[in-house]
Subunit: 438 residues, 2 copies
Amino acid sequence: MADALRIGIAGLGTVGASLARILTSRHNKLADICGRPIDIVAVSARDPGKDRGVDLSGAQFYDDPVALARDAEIDVFVELIGGEGDPALSSVRSALERGCHAVTANKALLARHGVELAGIAEERGVLLNFEAAVAGGIPVIKAMRESLTGNSISRVFGILNGTCNYILTEMERAGLSFEDCLKEAQRLGYAEADPTFDVEGNDTAHKLALLTSIAFGTRIAPDDIYLEGISNISIEDIRAADDLGFRIKLLGVAQRTDSGIEQRVHPTMVPKNSVIAQVDGVTNAVAIDADVLGELMMSGPGAGGDATASAVMGDIADIAKSRPGHQHGPVLGRPAAHLDPYVRARMRSHEGGYFIRLTVEDKTGVFASLARHMSDNGISLESIVQRSTQNGNGDKKTVILVTHATMEASVRQAVDSISSDGYLLDKPQVIRIERPGN
Amino acid sequence: MADALRIGIAGLGTVGASLARILTSRHNKLADICGRPIDIVAVSARDPGKDRGVDLSGAQFYDDPVALARDAEIDVFVELIGGEGDPALSSVRSALERGCHAVTANKALLARHGVELAGIAEERGVLLNFEAAVAGGIPVIKAMRESLTGNSISRVFGILNGTCNYILTEMERAGLSFEDCLKEAQRLGYAEADPTFDVEGNDTAHKLALLTSIAFGTRIAPDDIYLEGISNISIEDIRAADDLGFRIKLLGVAQRTDSGIEQRVHPTMVPKNSVIAQVDGVTNAVAIDADVLGELMMSGPGAGGDATASAVMGDIADIAKSRPGHQHGPVLGRPAAHLDPYVRARMRSHEGGYFIRLTVEDKTGVFASLARHMSDNGISLESIVQRSTQNGNGDKKTVILVTHATMEASVRQAVDSISSDGYLLDKPQVIRIERPGN
């Protein structure tokens, strides 16, 4: 059997501790599969003495992860610190620069510095693996980077944030408000005390930026993403979606168009009979439209210590199975030096159409006015549903419009014109519809 | 850039032709991704002159695929001939024995000879890739063999045959019989003139045998699979399933139990709100229960020239990205020499329970008799539904029983006892229920 693969783990939180337990408890089985043992020889953590259910006394302890990355006698540096800046950035950079492989679960770091780090890895002929950075344990990076090599990808979209999907699922299941479901998610540990980063879509955006780069061979553009979170979704929206045969999911969508790339994160209506509509709770899912293959869909646990550690373990095993000195496939699917520049798509018609929910006065002429404003803005309607409001107040009506493919700007302008007429009794709601291939 | 990877393709049917078109039309892009060009230098086919929409005049033509595998100056032998025997077997064996990598889409070959061929590949230090052999373009082999390396898998199940799934989907959608939907599938090219191999489950069994081996690290056992096809499924079963909140899918299921491995292929009730229940038409899907990760589900095109070629292309790209002389991960996930023997599980209780549909005389005492026979055989019932038959004949009733977890043998015995009472007016139907994690 070949020499052991020596790894250093920076960060022993839930993911790091789970990874250490896998590497220790399955040491022999992994050695058999990988053709050599995988040994944890160095670790760094904030609290060295904490009981993590695993004996790490054989590993050298570092206070400073950057020192570990720079000095430890390791073959693979595993970064589980988090955050887009230091010490995560400096430690990964140091490891790669001295010819160490690196594995990271850090989406923020890669969204910001992925191209630079990929360039260093490729120059040094080492691997930078990051399966755990997107959709947790779902092997979507490997599928796009390796399995779909012969394909040209036109769209990738998914449920990339378990917190949001849990909240939306609970709103539908229990009929509770966003606020109540968020509280429950916090109680269960599915949401942070400050949930902004999750519920406003930033976390999804980081992951989407990485998927976009690999899907289309472009440089990573984390700041060019249309962002809309789920905090404005009401129980009325969920019910109206249900009536129309849709569910609401927070999707990250990246699409290639003739004029460039479109990246957006927003609440989305998906047909109830689509596979992605059945993805409930904290589960994540990614769908990829590829020209040769067709639509590939993957779903599974998107977060949590074990699911993330499973993906990190797969990344380490890939390195263990390879041998030093052999060249590897490019980190982002295409060599970092050859990535195309990112070009933002021009405004265009949204193929899936829009759902528009309006609360209006129940009086003569309102309906005609709505229809006229839609028509004036060139919007063709698939359906109009008029419903009494739930409190039974006869002066109020809810009107739901579903449009065919149309421009976002047209929808906004039509809704503004309707607002100016003074009939609206509540804030209008506009939600995009997305139609998966299956 | 490194030397070209020279490939030889044996078999230029729909898959081979699609692969040749991808390799030719995307030659430069593939070279950039893989770090070297991939050139088709040799081919063999029954009809050399046929127009396949691709210029292969630069490749050397062989009449005999075994001669190609043995003599051509190639780095990778791609077997797209099909069939478990020769020439597929001899050609793959010859290629591996002389240190050529091999890629195949041939499930029958691997189900029968996979362990032997994996052993040769590992001895010679070359790759034997076969992503296309199971579930077409879905990268399930890669996911299990690489991404889930740190996991212990307890169950893998899936919709592995597009023909059957198309027929079952159409029966439900159009309300037509099995025979009518089969004819339609044949007209559309989704089913062969002799559909036996697909509709009786043999094709699913071959694929399942490979998944089982990789999932559990056991030798391949294609002959130890309980087999039941879909030709006995009636429109009444589909409707009853629908009423109870289920859909019927032909699943291949492999499960690890305390006493060994259970492999079975049969029509299965799955809850309508599960992800796998939404997988319609010719689409395939595989779900994997892994101890660290949880449940991973993948769905996508399971057959067809392009989807299969996409998977073969991914396998070739993996070889192109690696460098000669470096050792690779084991073909079946664990070294062929270390695979555990296959041990069949002892009979045990089926966790998901059973659906039993009986057509009985509508007279006093029948219901009590049914209930007694169930109870006598230790079967506990989750629900009993009694319905009039559709033709409105007052003397006939349909009774549907859904059991809790119970033994197959108990169910068969109870149904036999009921039959002996002489109340049954039609053949009883028994269908297993499977409950996915999501």
